[in-house]
Structures are given as C-alpha cells and as structure tokens.
Amino acid sequence: MAQKEKDALSGVETTGHEWDGLRELNNPLPKWWLYIFYVCIAWALVYYVLYPAWPLGKTYTKGLLGYSQREEIVAKLAEGKKAQEKYLTAIAAKSVDDIQKDKDLLAFAMAGGRSYFNENCAACHGAGGQGAKGFPTLADDVWLWGGTTADIYKTIQHGIRSDDADTRGTPGSGMTAFGRDGILKPEQINQVAEYVLSLNKRSTDAAAAEKGKAVFDENCAACHGDKAQGSLAAGMDVGAPPLVQANWLYGADKATIVQTVTNGRAGVMPAWSKRLDDATIKSLAVYVHNLGGGK
C-alpha cells in the first residue's frame, strides 16, 4: 500500500491527487449516501419495467403499467368536453342576446369566444379585433353590416359576399370601379374626393368640393346615403361605410380615396357555418359584440 499522505495544516489524509501544488483532501462521503445512489439505480430499473422508457425505432418499451401520457390527455380532454357540454347545449339553445343576459353563459362564451377568435378570426381582424387595412376593426363603433348581436351572428354564419346561399351582400358585388370602368372622369373623381374630404372638414379645394357634391349625389348617394351616412344608417344592407367619420377602413387621405373611387372596393368574408358549429359561432358573436363596439 502506498504511503499515507496527510495535509500538514488540517491533518486530513489526502487522496494523492495534486494540481499545481494543491492537494485534494480526502473528506470521505458517508457510506449511506453511496447506498442512496444504488437505491436510485434500482429505482430506475424498476421504472424501466413499469413505465414507458426506451425508444425502439418507431415504437418504445411500453412498461407493465401501460401508462401513456397521450391517453391521459385524451381522457382529460374528454372530461373537459363533458364539463363543457351543459354550457354548450344552453348556448346552442339560446339566442345570442339571451346568452349575454346569463352571467355564467356570458363568462363561458367570452372565454371560448376568445380562443375561437384567435384561432379563426385574428388572422385577418387582428388580436382583440384591432383590424387592419381592408379588414374592419371589430372593437370600434363603425359597422358595415350592423353591430347588434343578431347582425354579428348572421355575418359570421353566412359571411360577406361569400358562396353561402344566405350571404350578406351579393357575391361579386361591391363598390363600382368608377374610374376604371369609365363612369367618372379623373376630374370628377378629384371633385368627389374633395367633396368627401370637405364633409370631414379636410378639403383643401373648396371649388372642387362644391362641384363634387353633384357627382356624389348622382353616383354615390345610392349606397352611401344622401348625407354620406353609410348604407346602414340609410337603411340599406349593402355594406357601404359612412363617409363622415374618423375611422377609415382603407385610409382617410385623398390619394386613397381617389384610388378607392377609381378602382372600387369589395371586402369579402367566408361563411363560417360550414366550418364551425352553432355554439362556437354564438360564442364568437358574444365575444365580438363585447370587444367594445357592440350596438
């Protein structure tokens, strides 16, 4: 046996290892600690036998207990669905307005509607219904097709200018391309754009704006209303936005207005009744109605 070496200062035996003059002292680990390590190994072996452990190409060792996290999550999802069932039945049976009156149902529909919205609607309308150019903000108070619960429900169900038989707006319809189709001359388009700006007190050419009124009455008022109050306020169901307001779907500057008048606009939205069940659509209607702009 090698000569025992002791550290002079502490009197502790060294392991014989030395690095740059520093010697490692042998302060031994208690034996029972070593035994715990062995117990852990034994535990691991038992675990291998009882639980899924080793990958085998496309499969794996299943373990004697047959435990599976996937099955567990499937069971939990089924459990969750079952817990949701009574709410979903009630939501399917009631009108959107009645759902809003029931506090429990409202909370349930809001929570569900939020996740359905993020899954299906936020791609165009943005998170929280914040909207984007050409895709209406759902949190504001401007509605092209109506902001009541019934309107929103109907819009989600059947879409806008969609392939659904009950769609809102005629498929293929939309705002006429007054410039491209040669109905209005560029000069007239300039005049009507100035007129629309003047309604919002932003016109820089009063003379053109004055001439534009005639152009507007002749070409635009049919859909946008005689006071440019929008088709909804004028009692029509064609989705023409009010033009006297601060919230513009495509842009409020003159260039955009000229472009809009020249080429027309036609927003579309798919009908969701083919993809989502009634309770989901009602939940969405409740959620959208409560974003802040519901009428």
Partner: protein, 516 residues
C-alpha cells in the same frame, strides 16, 4: 474545519508534518484539530456510519434543552387548534395557510397572495435572527431550536425509555436477536412512528381547518392529498429523527458549512479549556491534585463523559468542529465530573476565543464583547425589517386595485374621432363587507369612462362599481378621450377608486393614441 489546503509547492514530496507542540497552546485552540475519526489507517473514499449512543446527562443546559423542546413542540402541536373569531364567512382558525382559497391567516393578520412580500420580510428577519444568535452564542439554533435537534432529542428520549441508557443500548445492539431485543426494538419503532404520524398530522392542520380534518381522518374520509402529506411527513420524521440524526447536520444541512463566517473570536461557543485540561490523564486515587499538577497533568481526567453525551458523537476536546451543534450537553457532563472530583466547573464552557487566548497566555480573563459592530448591525437590520413589516401590517389597506391595459388593440379610433383605450380593472376588496366604489380618472382632459357589459354603457366622468366581501371583482373599463387632449402617442392616466367609507386606491397607467 478540514478544508484548508496544503500550499507547499513541492511535488510528490510528503509534507513535513507540523507537530502540534510547535504552536502555542492558545493558537492551537483557534486552529481546530481534526476529528480523530479521520485519522485512520487505510484510505477510503466512503465513511462508515458509526451509530451515536448519547448518554443521559443532567444539568443547566440539559434543562434548557428540555424546556426549549417542550415549548417548541407545544407550539407546533397546539397552534392549529387555537380559534380566532373573524366574524361570519371567515375561518376561525388562528393560524391557517389556506392555499386552496389563497389566503394566509395569522391571528389578526390576513394576507392575500399579492402580499407575499411579507413572507420575504419574515424570511429575512429569520435569517438575520439566526446570524445574530450565532454571532452571540454560536450555533444555539442548531443545539436548541432546529426541528432536527428537537425531534432527534425526543426520539433519543423514547429510545432511552425503551432500551435503557447508552451502555444498555450498545449491549442490546451488539447482542443476538432475542425475543426481548425484538420486543424492545418493535416498541421503540412503534412509538417513533406514532410520534412521526402526529407530527405529519399536525403539519397539515396548518393548511386546512383542523377540527374538520381531524373528523375526516377519524372517519377515514380525508382526501388523498391530506393522507399523502401525512405519510410524507411521517416518513421523513421517522427517518430523519430516528436514523439520520446527526448525519443530517453533518452532511445535509448547509448551515454548518458557513457557520464559521457567522462566529468570530467574541462569540460564546462551546469550548474545552485545553490550557487547563491538558495533559489529560486518568485520575489515580493515590494522587492529589497538587501532585498531578507537579507532574504536568491537567484537570481533564479523560473520563470521556463529554464524548458519550454528545448527540453529534464528537470529542469537544478536539476544538471547534463543523459537527458541533453547540448544545452544551458536554458542559453539563464535564461540570458533573469536575464537581465529583472536587475541581472547579467550567473545564468545558460557553466562552469566547478571545478569552481563551487571554487565559492561556496571560492567565487574565479578557472582557466579553457581546455588543460589537456585528451584533449591533444585525440588531439594527432586524429592527428596520421588523419595523417595516409592522408598519406595513398596521397600514395594510382593505382595498387594492390593479389595472391592465389592453395591448391588442392598443387603442381604438371611434367614428366621431375620439380615442378609446380598454383596461382590465380588478378591485381586491379585502374587507368582510360588500363595498361600493366610485371610479374616476385623472390626467386626461375630457376623459370619459364606460363599463363594459353594464346595461347602460354610458360614458361618464365617474362610474360606480361594487365588489363582494373578500373577493376580487373584475371589470372591463373603456376610457374615451377627444383626440385634442392627447399630447402624443402615450400619456399617463391615473385611476382613482374611492369607497363609500373613504378608502382610496390609485393606479398609474397610460393612455395611448395615434402618434401625431
């Protein structure tokens, strides 16, 4: 004390061993000598566990230890049963950590989750208390108050009752497995398990209504969580107090590893007065103390009583050691012997290292400085923290609000050009009564408030809100302001909520609009 490293640069050369005689006796007391157990013949990477059989002892410190044990165990077992009337619809348990309902009840104090910082304060206070106690009197926490010490002491007491004192226990363990041995061991372990179960049971009483849970336990109706936790704490108590004992202190607990940073030369620590005791030697009847002294022998008669009573199984005569829990039982043991042999007591005593060096070198005692910068600093810090906690608890409001601004959309422009922001508004009503509040905003000219989902979403300068007792009420608030009152993309907005009886809470948020 065994972590210092030999810094001799010579490679592969056996260090020249320094004889302990080279150092002065006083200095030797400061440099802790290694435990004998580590000076072994063969080199092993693992240390065999040798069971400690603490012998019964009586004396001042043993009485102190019994008192501490009785008081601490009484507090632990009785506290959950103290009732405290908080009025209807509130638990009447004085100390209740209601995790399910997210409330902590401590007598008059009731804490909500967002006030968990009081726990931080309490932990800091506890740490500073530990530092202060250690700098004053060494590891008194370890020796008297630590649950590991208290339960180990209790378990050793049971062991002694059933199996007898040290000698009998050693003989029993070394002897063959007889019916008597089996009976004794079975009885001891049964009592241990009962104590462990009571410990585990008492633990969960802190987290749920104690009488209700006891009833459920008696009828075998308790939840599996409750039973599981009882089993867990039963198991750990039984293992740690019954078998692991001093191994917990030596190998598992971090505290002994940095205790040397907490004590200094003015701390009262358990000390063997080696200048008086060495050279130790058995006493011969024929020899008088004068003759012993003339022979160069000290007061220590090498009776090993101090070693036999030690719950950590160490020899205090080896000096300050990491394993020493500072319980002072060796002091009692030695005093008893010194009295018997007619020498002054205090050969082993709580003393400062300064005093020991002074006594060893000059023979004159040095003054004890219990009040010194370190202890003053710890005390001051404790006072500050305790004061802050006390002031916080006294002024603790019954109302708290939290405002979370919507980020999508950041803001909404309405048809008439005004700008609207939406906020999730939470009112924590920490009182036992339903409350009516008035909400107003400040910092934005012409701002109007609406509450989502209310029958009339009228925009008003003020809104009335309510919150049920002991509940958080959540509202969605819309704030609308004319574009002209915005100073930029973002401006501060203050929410102010006032209750009918005058409590006020404010929250600084922001209002965002289009950048100009």
């Amino acid at each position: 004390m065994s972590t210092s490293t030999d810094i001799k640069p010579s490679k592969g050369q056996a260090p020249t061993a320094q004889s302990p005689a080279d150092t002065t006796p006083g200095a030797e007391a400061l440099t802790a000598a290694p435990p004998k157990a580590q000076r072994r013949a063969s080199r092993s990477m693992y240390q065999k566990h040798s069971k400690v059989y603490p012998k019964a002892v009586s004396g001042t410190f043993r009485r102190l230890k019994w008192t501490a044990l009785a008081v601490l165990l009484a507090i632990y077992y009785v506290l959950p049963w103290i009732r405290w009337d908080r009025g209807p619809n509130a638990p009447d348990q004085a100390v209740l950590l209601d995790l399910a309902n997210r409330r902590f009840y401590l007598f008059v104090v009731e804490l909500w989750p967002q006030q968990i910082y009081y726990l931080t304060g309490a932990l800091i206070l506890a740490a500073l208390g530990l530092f202060l106690a250690t700098s004053l009197a060494g590891r008194v926490w370890c020796g008297y108050a630590c649950p590991q010490t208290v339960w180990t002491d209790l378990y050793v007491w049971v062991e002694r009752l059933v199996e007898g004192d040290r000698g009998e226990r050693i003989r029993l363990d070394q002897g063959p497995w007889t019916a008597r041995k089996l009976g004794r061991k079975a009885l001891k372990n049964l009592i241990w398990l009962l104590i462990a179960a009571a410990t585990g049971g008492a633990w969960i009483f802190y987290f749920t209504d104690a009488p209700t849970l006891l009833g459920e336990l008696a009828r075998f109706e308790a939840s599996s969580t409750a039973v599981g936790f009882i089993a867990l704490f039963t198991g750990t108590t039984y293992l740690l107090a019954g078998f692991a004992r001093e191994q917990v202190c030596t190998y598992m607990c971090p505290w002994p590893r940095f205790q040397s940073a907490m004590i200094d030369e003015d701390s009262l620590i358990v000390t063997y007065q080696d200048w008086r005791g060495e050279g130790r030697s058995l006493m011969r009847k024929s020899q008088s103390w004068e003759e012993r002294k003339a022979e160069g022998l000290g007061d220590c008669i090498d009776c090993f009583n101090c070693v036999q009573v030690c719950p950590a199984g160490i020899d205090i005569r080896d000096g300050l050691q990491m394993q020493c829990i500072g319980c002072g039982l060796c002091v009692d043991a030695c005093d008893e012997i010194m009295t018997k042999v007619g020498r002054p007591t205090g050969l082993i005593k709580f003393d400062t290292q300064t005093n020991q060096v002074a006594l060893a070198t000059t023979g004159q005692p040095a003054p004890t400085h219990l009040i010194r910068p370190r202890t003053i600093l710890y005390s001051m810090m404790m006072l500050v923290i305790a004061g802050a906690i006390a002031i916080g608890l006294v002024l603790k409001p019954g109302l708290d609000i939290s405002v979370l601004r919507d980020r999508a959309p950041l803001f909404v422009t309405l048809a008439d050009g005004t700008v609207r922001n939406a906020y999730t508004f939470k009112i924590s009503n920490m009182t036992r009564d339903p409350r009516d509040y008035t909400l107003a905003v400040a910092g934005l000219t012409g701002a109007r408030i609406a509450v989502a989902g209310e029958e009339q979403e009228d925009q008003e300068t003020q809104q009335r809100l309510t919150a049920a007792p002991d509940m958080v009420a959540t509202y969605r608030i819309f704030v609308t302001a004319p574009r002209s009152s915005l100073q930029g993309a973002s401006q501060p907005l203050t929410f102010r909520l006032t209750s009918a009886n005058g409590e006020t809470a404010t929250y600084e948020s922001v209002f965002m609009g289009p950048a100009n």
